[in-house]
């Protein structure tokens, strides 16, 4: 019983806690990655419209 209480009293490991500046930097990086991926999707979509079936033809 005593052992059980001692275990419960151990401090909870919260891992790496980010500062506000680190959170802001991570958020801005995440947004940049999301925008880049969205741009890539749009690029492939538009290029498929532009090239039509030729989008699959890639002569060496």
């Amino acid at each position: 019983m005593t052992i059980g209480i001692a275990m419960n009293e151990q401090p909870k490991d919260e891992g790496v806690v980010l500062t506000e500046a680190q959170k802001r930097a991570r958020r801005s990086r995440s947004i940049a990655i999301a925008l880049s991926l969205a741009a890539l999707v749009i690029l492939f979509y538009v290029m498929t419209l532009v090239k039509g079936p030729m989008v699959l033809v890639r002569p060496l």
Partner: protein, 324 residues
């Protein structure tokens, strides 16, 4: 004169490179989007995009503007990838040199591993997208250019030979060829000529800069020509390379690829380049005015040659393609 001046901390790249930095637990990153943009060397990227645009625009045949845009985007991202890989590997010497000490990796804002991952990811995306959406030849040339800049120049030549920027200059000369290949799917004499102009422009341009920063390069242990062979030899080499560059600059007109306006521009600006190179040849340290003038004018020289070519040959063709 020894390869590296006394007091220089010239460690070999394999011991100095970030790959062998003592492993440590990194703090969560504070890197902003701006730091990652800085890793891509935006000023170099803009010159790469401009020369690639000229290669793309002067090429014969028709090209959909969206395909042209995609090609330029991939070339820009590929150049950015090469820049990030360069900053990853050169973090140790960047920290020593005044000009580069504030870059994101030596400042500690971006970890070397993050720069490496960023560079490799961008390179992969740029090459694959260019291959899938434009053509395989352009993608292969882009892949070779990134490899040449990151491996041949940065990892091998830069720290081992005073000819580093002569051979390494090829990496900066490839973009017009990539642009041409993106437009036509092939190569010919014209893009090779554009390649040669940038290739022979690079040594006078960088050696003029190196003459004004010899101590900086020596402290970082980079065997630039002024550090290894001295002031006089560098000034002589600048003059020789300019003597080769000027006729090459006029060659597009002489061979009928460009019009009279280009020929006149190349002749006049080439004469100014030669006059400045002659002043650099006659000048002796500690005076560096002529070197600074040559460095500044060389940028304008290359810009003018390519801009006039774009206006004369490319602009009309580009408008015709957009209308087609």
């Amino acid at each position: 004169m020894s390869l590296v001046s006394e007091g220089a901390d010239f460690r070999g790249p394999m011991t100095a490179g970030p790959g062998l930095v003592e492993p440590m637990l990194a703090e969560p990153s504070l890197a902003s989007v701006g730091d990652y943009v800085a890793l891509m060397k935006p000023r170099v990227m803009s010159l790469v995009v401009f020369t690639a645009l000229v290669g793309l625009a002067v090429a014969p045949g028709s090209l959909h503007p969206m395909i042209g845009f995609t090609a330029l985007l991939c070339i820009a991202v590929g150049a950015g990838a090469a820049g990030a890989l360069n900053m990853w590997y050169d973090a140790d010497i960047d920290a020593i040199m005044t000009r580069t000490a504030r870059r994101p990796v030596p400042m500690g804002r971006v970890q070397p591993g993050e720069a490496l991952a960023f560079g490799l990811t961008l390179a992969g995306f740029a090459i694959v997208v260019l291959g899938l959406l434009v053509n395989v030849l352009a993608a292969a040339l882009l892949a070779f250019t990134i490899f040449f800049y990151a491996v041949i120049y940065t990892i091998w030549l830069k720290r081992s030979t005073p000819q580093n920027i002569v051979i390494g200059g090829a990496a900066g000369a490839f973009p017009p060829m990539i642009g041409w290949a993106a437009a036509t799917g092939s190569l010919s004499l014209e893009p090779v000529l554009l390649f040669m102009i940038i290739f022979f422009w690079t040594p006078p341009h960088f050696w003029a800069l190196a003459l004004t920063r010899t101590e900086d390069y020596a402290r970082a242990g980079i065997p630039m020509l002024p550090v290894v062979s001295g002031d006089g030899a560098t000034r002589r080499q600048i003059l020789w390379h300019t003597l080769i560059l000027v006729p090459l600059g006029i060659a597009p007109w002489a061979l009928g690829f460009a019009g009279l306006f280009y020929g006149l521009t190349a002749a006049v600006t080439g004469a100014i380049m030669l006059a400045l190179a002659w002043q650099v040849f006659r000048e002796r340290r500690p005076v560096e005015r002529a070197s600074k003038h040559l460095f500044a004018f060389s940028i304008l020289y290359l810009f003018l040659l390519f801009a006039v070519l774009l206006i004369e040959r490319g602009w009309g063709g580009l408008i015709a393609r957009l209308a087609a």
